[in-house]
Every structure is written in C-alpha cells, then in structure tokens.
C-alpha cells in the first residue's frame, strides 16, 4: 500500500489512547478542526487528515473515477484506520463526512466504536413528498457554475495555510502558489459526489452507535433532515445545539465539543 500518512496528510496528536478521527467536509481540509480538535488532545489520540484531492493530500495519487462517489472517500478513512492500526475509533465527521464515515463503518464495523455526525445530511436533494433535502438538481448546476467562476479563491482556500499554527505571511504565499496548479475539476468531482448522492439507505443499515449534532438554524441541513436521520438511523442520538449555520465546530466550537464529550461520557 502507498504511504497513507503522506498521501492523506495524516497528523496524529494528543496524549490519550482512544482514537478520535476528525473528517472534514466538502470544500475544506483538516484545518477546519483547528478550533475544536484541541479540546480532545488531553484524553484522546487525535487523528486529522485530508481527503484525496483536498488540502495537502498527494494529488498525484488522485483517481477521478474512484472519487466520483463517496465510497471512494470512505476508502481513505479505512486506509488510515488500517495503516495506523486503529480499533474502536470515534469518527467525528462534518456534513458529507457523516455519510462517508457511515459507509466506512458498514464496510468494516470493527474499526469503529461510535460516529459523531456534525450537521449531517444523507441526501441534499429533495425527494418529494417524503423527503426534503433542501436542494434541487438545478441548484447543483448553479453551484458548479459558481465554482467555475471562483477558481482562484477556491484553489487558495484549499491550500494548506498554517503549519503548527504560526506560519509567516511569506510561507502562506508560497504554499498558496504551489497549490494553485491543482486541477479545480477535483473540487467539482467532490461537489458532485457530495450533493448528488443519496445515502439514506446506508444510514438505515448502520450498526455503529451515532450522535447527530444539528444546528438550530442551518441552511444546508435543516432540523427536519436531522430528525429524519435520527428516526431512520439505528442506535442514534440527536442533539440540537444552540448554534446557527452549517459549521458549528468553527463558529461554536466550545458547545460543539461539549455535546460530543457529553455523548461519549454517557456512551
């Protein structure tokens, strides 16, 4: 197997033995956990990584066919678990990563002890009359169009900005520049896999206990979606936290961490 640590830019931190793996969502990289992950360093073995094609992952190993579907991304998680010999891992997945982690747990349940889903959505598309994911197919077309129109901003955002939290302005520039050569088609591939897929059935087959964390107000994953997911996912707990927006782990890291810890204590 290829060098997974290098391929997925895997970073292992923390003083504990219990592994907790943080999986970022679409459009971001592991840096999005910077506000929340420190809360777990004392008691856990914190594992951070970038999906193939995101952040500082090794683009040369990117396979467009494999990453057309979320199953391909689930392989990344499984590869990391195998490589680090993780067992009974807690996976904290943001948004689409809730689906990815669920797919991974269905394939290799023994790697996982619990799944924490932050603002998950099993299906972003509307499927009336019984399910409203919030988006129409035409919205996805508009998203892809907007991505075409924001090439630079996109490429820069994906770039690894800070190493160890204190990168100089100069270093920032260098890293951004080197990343701009990345094919934006990769980002569009992830967008399609994320927003066109329907994993409602996968969640309903889940055997790993899970916590669903929803924001009170979230334009991407509504409370109805959270409730649907809770109702249809076996062994799931639903916690609605006092936050607004799709990224409570960035906007409200303290209460998000608290909700996770509380669940893990009671688990």
């Amino acid at each position: 197997m290829a060098n997974i640590t290098k391929r997925n830019n895997v970073v292992v931190q923390g003083k504990g033995d219990q592994p907790i793996l943080f999986a970022h969502g679409f459009g971001c990289d592991q840096n999005m956990w910077r506000f929340m992950a420190p809360d777990f360093l004392e008691n856990y073995k914190v594992v951070l990584f970038d999906y193939m094609g995101s952040g500082k992952s090794d683009i040369t190993e990117y396979d467009p066919k494999k990453y057309e579907s979320l199953e391909g991304y689930a392989e990344d998680i499984l590869d990391i678990c195998e490589d680090l010999k993780l067992k009974n891992t807690i996976v904290v997945g943001h948004s689409v990563s809730a689906s990815i982690a669920t797919l991974a747990s269905l394939k290799e349940p023994c790697y996982f002890s619990s799944l924490i889903h932050i603002t998950p959505s099993p299906c972003f598309l509307n499927d009336p009359p019984d399910y409203m994911g919030g988006f129409e197919y035409s919205d996805l077309e508009e998203l892809l169009d907007l991505m075409d129109k924001n090439y630079i901003g996109w490429a820069e955002y994906l770039s690894p900005i800070v190493i160890g939290g204190q990168a100089s302005e100069l270093l920032k520039g260098e890293l951004s520049d080197s990343f701009c050569s990345t094919d934006p088609l990769i980002a569009k591939n992830f967008a399609k896999a994320t927003f066109l897929s329907d994993h409602r059935e996968s969640f309903s087959k889940s055997t790993t206990p899970s916590l669903i964390i929803q924001s009170k107000i979230d334009a991407l994953a509504s409370l109805e979606v959270g409730e649907f997911l809770h109702k249809t996912t076996p062994h799931s707990t639903l916690t609605i936290i006092d936050s607004e927006g799709h990224c409570p782990h960035m906007t409200h890291p303290t209460i998000t961490s608290k909700a996770v810890k509380q669940y893990l204590l009671n688990d």
Partner: protein, 301 residues
C-alpha cells in the same frame, strides 16, 4: 483634525456588518436597494437568507470557514436573490478585524458585467474541450470507413502485446485485402468503390468482439487485431468474414476477400512490423493460391 461623519451610502458598494453566525447587524441603503429590499427588511436576518440555494452552499462551506480561519476572504462571486427572486451576481470581499472580533464586515459589488464575461469565458472553455475531444477522436479514425486508422492500430497493437505478456494469452493479426478491388473502381467509379469499402469496414466492426481492433491499413487493405484467441477461434472468425462478404451490395458481380493471419504466442519476440509482415506474407499466399481464402501462419508456441 475635524471629526468626519462618514456616510456608508457614499461607498460604491453594498456594506453589511454581521456577527460570526452571519446575522446582519447593519446594512447600508445601497445593499438593500441592490436587491429591492429595505434596510429594515434585511436587519436581523442571516446573510444566507439573501442568497440562492447554491450560493448558500459556497457561503457556508467556503466563505464563512475561510473568514473564520483566515480572517478575510476576497473576490468571491456568489448570487444574491432580489425581492422578485431574480439572481444578482455579486463579488464579495469580507473581513474580520482580528481573531477576537465578534463582527464581520462584508463589501458586496454587483458583478453583472463580470458575470457575463465569465459566462463567455466558460462557454469558450467548454467549446474548446469539446473540440479537443472531437479532434482526439478524429485523429484515431479513418474518415471514410469510421474504423481506426493505421496509427491508432499500431498503438493498440502495442497495448495488446503488453496485455498478452501480462495475462499470457496468444493473439491474432488479420490482414485483409479485397479481391479485384481495382476493377470495382475502374468499372463502376470511385463512389461505388468507397461504398464497398464502407460496407466492408462495417461488416468487420459488426463481427468484432468488444476489445478487437478493426483498422484500415491503406487502400483496400484492413487489419483486425484479435487479443486472446487461438487458431481455432481465428479460423471461425475468418470463415464468418468470407461468408458475410455476400451481404455486400455492389454493382460488381460479387466481391470477395483474401485474408492472411499471423497468430503469435504471448512471449513472441518479433517486432510489431515483423508480425504484420508475417500476416502480409500469409495474405500473399492466399492471393497467389486463388484468392477468396484464408492462410494461417502460426508462430510455434
């Protein structure tokens, strides 16, 4: 220094101030008027609520995380919705003063012209990609018959030989030449000749398996590459071809084909050209011994 009371509506852009959840605390008149709303209608709402669904995704998944992480975001184009549900493209610059600041300041510039330009640019890019893929296809194909051309056949032969070595199968090269084809051209004209060639190529392609390669080698000469096949399989294939020749409709009395075959084991050391020559020699045998037949040359295993 005198105190200057600054009017934010003098700025040539819409201005919003929000908290970290993007709830709007302040809007200038200009921003509200861009989307046919009043300032009062905007205040206390989330920036989200002014955007198209697709823009909400970019906003929540890219813009906001970037601002929270980097403190600033520049020149991102998203679509606002005005009160008539019409899209207004806007370019956003946003800034958070420092990492402890509870507010984000957003400057929003209408981008109708820029959007038109980007649409044209993306359209041209798409057309270019389509043209490229068409050219790629054309460069592989024989324009008259639609089967592969000689160059592509030579490339595919290399691939088949590599597969043969890896998976240890023998492969066949068929060299086919229409009998007395010159007479068709001479007696009935080139249009009729082309018509016969097209039908013949189609007949070969219809009979081919999924990974067989049918190519026009030049004039009335064709090559068919058959991966993973033995002498028995080849003979059955050529019998079918001889039989199918009756289906070709032509003003000529009838048209037949002579075939030369080279079957090579996976580990054969001959060059590609040497293998093609062997098939060509076998074809020559077929021609010499009366035409409308197949001669097989098997390289011993």
């Amino acid at each position: 220094m005198t105190d200057i009371v600054f009017d934010y509506d003098l700025l040539p852009c819409g201005v919003l101030v929000t908290d970290l959840s993007c709830k709007i605390i302040y809007s200038n008149q200009k921003l509200a008027s861009y989307i046919n709303l009043t300032v009062e209608e905007i205040i206390k709402h989330n920036v989200d609520s002014l955007l198209t669904a697709a823009s909400k995704i970019l906003f929540q998944q890219i813009l906001l995380p970037t601002i929270l992480y980097e403190g600033t975001v520049e020149e991102i184009q998203i679509n606002f919705l005005n009160s008539n549900k019409k899209k207004l493209p806007m370019v956003i610059f946003a800034h958070r003063d420092n990492k402890n600041s509870a507010n984000i300041v957003w400057c929003c510039f209408p981008a109708l012209e820029r959007n038109k330009l980007l649409n044209e640019f993306n359209e041209s890019k798409k057309r270019l990609e389509e043209t490229n893929s068409q050219l790629k296809k054309l460069s592989k194909t024989d324009s008259l018959t639609g089967c592969y051309n000689r160059r592509e056949m030579l490339l595919r032969l290399k691939l088949i030989r590599r597969q043969a070595t890896r998976r240890q199968f023998s492969f066949g090269i068929l060299m086919l030449d229409l009998d007395y084809f010159k007479a068709v051209n001479d007696n009935h004209g080139h249009v009729e000749g082309d018509y016969v060639l097209k039908q013949f190529a189609q007949l070969l392609m219809d009979d081919a398996r999924f990974d067989d390669v049918v190519a026009r080698y030049g004039g009335e000469e064709f090559i068919v590459l058959l991966p993973d096949i033995n002498a028995d399989g080849v003979m059955k294939a050529t019998e079918r071809i001889h039989e199918n020749m009756k289906k070709i409709r032509t003003k000529a009395v009838s048209i037949t084909v002579s075939i030369g075959v080279c079957i090579a084991p996976h580990h054969v050391e001959a060059t590609d050209n040497e293998l093609i020559d062997l098939a060509d020699n076998a074809l020559y045998e077929s021609k010499k011994s009366g035409r409308n037949k197949t001669t097989l040359h098997s390289i011993p295993y």
